[in-house]
């Protein structure tokens, strides 16, 4: 199984190297193209059904922004309301602490296996690996997570972690691996999606029925009431949330919304953005536990509030908007870079455009992969257009590029640090310095432009030296016969009608 450490896949190369292999994998390209194009059209249709999409988007953005601006207050309120409802609240500043808390809670129950609802937060902290080290087996129960777990693979999409697999590959994995983990795949399993879903149903049912401990994340936590919300499709979430005796939910601190009423916004925008449905098949909402004779669901409930880089992200005035994210994955599905490179190249459980701004903020830009992620974009802006909470991803990408290239201050583990400019951007910085010098001196700029125009026949088609790699896949812009400023002066701003 692939190792994770604080969410970084060990030894992950920078995005360009990782993407290099992915774009040459024609099966992967085909799978991604098929899936992302299918969902794109459907999302557009689902969004067009509601005439007030822009207003819902604005409200979602404002709810999240307000919460983030008063996050200390709402965190304390969540602690109060969840505790009052019979839950126990734990706080984890980093992945290690969260894993330690969860492993301890599972050990207290005396159980050595848990069933899991798909959760980004537990992926991010590498919970399954941490539990395994403690002798606790975690069973993923979401279909796509199951495919990833059985295939000893890594997730490549926020919503559909096995999006890089087509039905034939899934059949193969089920037929080969299910027997290792429990009930084998049915004889003669074909690659029809209905049969594959049936195989997962049979394989997981025995695990659900005997599970004593469930582990989940949450899509939302309502501060006012202490209510947690899990949005899902298959019913595996309902199984994990209602059948076990103990439920442990690991939730990022940015998942809070202030009031019960706020859910009316996100329950409209999230399903339409993620699976392009009017409503997802199942949404569960629970408030603590109940110990009456009508008790319904787990008798013990633990909420682990996770920081793990979120407060550092909050400290960045431009970058903090990434914390509005509700993990719908619409930005992945429209991104031309994601469609071609696939999720693995991003080296994080958060791939795609949102990952490119979230990972370098949650983890810092210290590693090669994280420093390269802000560049994994053409800045086309499609991600911003579809984002249901209006995160201006291109703005944050450019902001992070600046930090990588120029260095500057950032917050790491709660402390201000001064980052040095990253290596490998010397040519970029030199070019920018030269540009600044030239634009500040009109005479020099004019002389340079005229020289370039007169010698244009002599220009090479590719750049020499270190610029060669850049121009290998790009055409150099053609230089006009006459600089624009000369043309403007000669023709009186084009008014003379002269060419």
């Amino acid at each position: 199984m692939s190792g994770t450490s604080g969410g970084t896949y060990l030894g992950m190369p920078a995005f360009p190297e990782a993407a290099h292999d992915a774009v040459r994998d024609t099966t992967l390209r085909g799978n991604l193209r098929h899936a992302t194009h299918t969902i794109r059209a459907k999302r557009a249709h689902a969004v067009a059904e509601v005439s007030d999409w822009a207003e819902l988007r604005e409200a979602g953005k404002r709810i999240k922004d307000h919460t983030l601006r008063h996050l200390d207050r709402y965190l304390v309120q969540v602690e109060e309301t969840v505790t009052a409802a019979g839950g126990t609240v734990h706080w984890a500043a980093d992945a290690e602490e969260a894993n330690r808390i969860v492993a301890g809670l599972v050990r207290e129950t005396g159980e050595s296996e848990v069933v899991k609802v798909k959760s980004m937060a537990t992926q991010e902290i590498g919970l399954n690996e941490a539990l395994e080290a403690e002798g606790i087996r975690a069973y993923e129960t979401d279909l796509a997570e199951l495919i990833v777990q059985l295939g000893k693979d890594r997730p490549s999409h926020i919503l559909v972690p096995a999006i890089h697999r087509n039905r034939g590959e899934i059949r193969e994995i089920f037929a080969r691996e299910m027997s290792e983990w429990g009930r084998p795949a049915p004889e003669g399993l074909t690659d029809s999606p209905a049969e594959l879903a049936e195989a997962a149903r049979l394989h997981l049912r025995e695990k659900f029925l005997r599970a004593k401990v469930g582990i989940s994340g949450a899509n939302f936590v309502v501060a006012e009431t202490g209510t947690l919300v899990v949005v899902e499709s298959e019913g595996n979430g309902r199984m994990c949330l209602t059948l076990p005796e103990t439920l442990i939910s690991v939730v990022g601190i940015e998942k809070i919304v202030p009031t019960w009423r706020d859910l009316e916004v996100f329950l409209q925008t999230l399903p339409r953005s993620s699976t392009a449905e009017r409503m997802n098949p199942y949404t569960s909402m629970w408030t603590g536990t109940s110990d009456s004779d009508r008790a319904d669901g787990p008798r013990t409930f633990h909420l682990v509030l996770l920081d793990n880089g979120r407060t550092d992200t909050l400290a960045d005035e431009v970058g903090r908007q990434a914390l509005r994210c509700i993990r719908c994955s619409a930005c992945l599905n429209v991104c031309p870079v994601y469609e071609r490179a696939g999720g693995h190249a991003y080296g994080s459980v958060y791939p795609g455009p949102i990952g490119a701004i979230l990972s370098p903020q949650l983890r810092g830009t210290g590693s090669e992969i994280d420093a390269s992620l802000p560049y994994a974009s053409s800045l086309c802006g499609a991600c911003y257009e579809v984002c249901p909470v209006a995160i201006d991803i291109p703005e944050v990408l450019v902001h992070l590029r600046e930090r990588v290239a120029q260095g500057g201050t950032a917050t790491r583990e709660g402390a201000k640090v001064v980052l040095r400019p990253a290596k490998g951007h010397a040519a970029e910085r030199a070019a920018m310095r030269a540009a600044r010098w030239a634009f500040g001196r009109p005479g020099a700029l004019r002389a340079g432009q005229r020289l370039a125009s007169r010698t244009r026949r002599l220009h090479p088609r590719t750049l020499p030296g270190p610029g060669r790699a850049w121009s290998e896949s790009r055409d150099l812009p053609p230089v006009p016969a006459e600089p624009f400023r000369d043309w403007w002066r000669r023709t009186n701003g084009g008014e003379d009608g002269a060419k």
Binding site: N31, H34, T38, S51, D52, E55, A59, R62, H66, R69, D72, V76, A85, W91, A92, A93, T141, L143, A144, L159, A162, P193, A197, A200, R201, S233, E234, G235, R238, M239, L241, T242, L243, T259, W260, R261, L263, E264, V265, T275, R278, M279, N280, P281, Y282, T283, S284, M285, T287, S290, R294, D296, G297, D307, D312, L314, E317, R320, T411, G414
Partner: protein
Amino acid sequence: MSDRDVILGRVRRALADVTPDGTPYEAALPRDYLREHGERSLARTVELLAENLADYRALVHRCAGVPELSALIAGLLAGRGARSVLVPPGLDGAWLADTGAEVTRVADEAASTAAELDRVDSVVTGCAVAVAETGTLVLDGSPDQGRRRITLIPDHHICVVRVPEQVVGSVPQAVARLDPRRPLTWISGPSATSDIELNRVEGVHGPRTLEVVLLGDA
């Protein structure tokens, strides 16, 4: 220092640039979105509910009154060959009046194990609210609906919606009607997944057949 103090301290330092603002939440947050999408008559709202339920592969039936309902439920159970049916404690007994003794009634009891419930064929419940615009049923654990697990483990769920009184047009209207202190389950069609090539396929862990009976004259 505890992790609680660490996190709260970090949050406060991170927000040093934010000027404190005493505006009450609801005043600070304009809700310009619609309460409901378009004007509809009650009858049209119920019709829309039926359409959207069917669009997500729920099987929709309508009947005017309880006698008719009782016959319908008996027929639905017989049609599936159900030999046992889970019955929430507060379910109107008349709903099952026509269902013969050959179908065993299984009570929703705290002591039942999940494995026992797994042997039951069907479940019949009421609901708390139904949302027309999204084709959603919401259960809140009231006595006519029972614990969450009884509508999860059996493969066949018959849910009765009283129309028009339990039907609302939109999600905001549903949220306003519900009590967050109750365990809530929002159900839109039978169990499904989009995990294979991002296409919706019905039938994973929850009931694979969802039948909805719209009970009433509207």
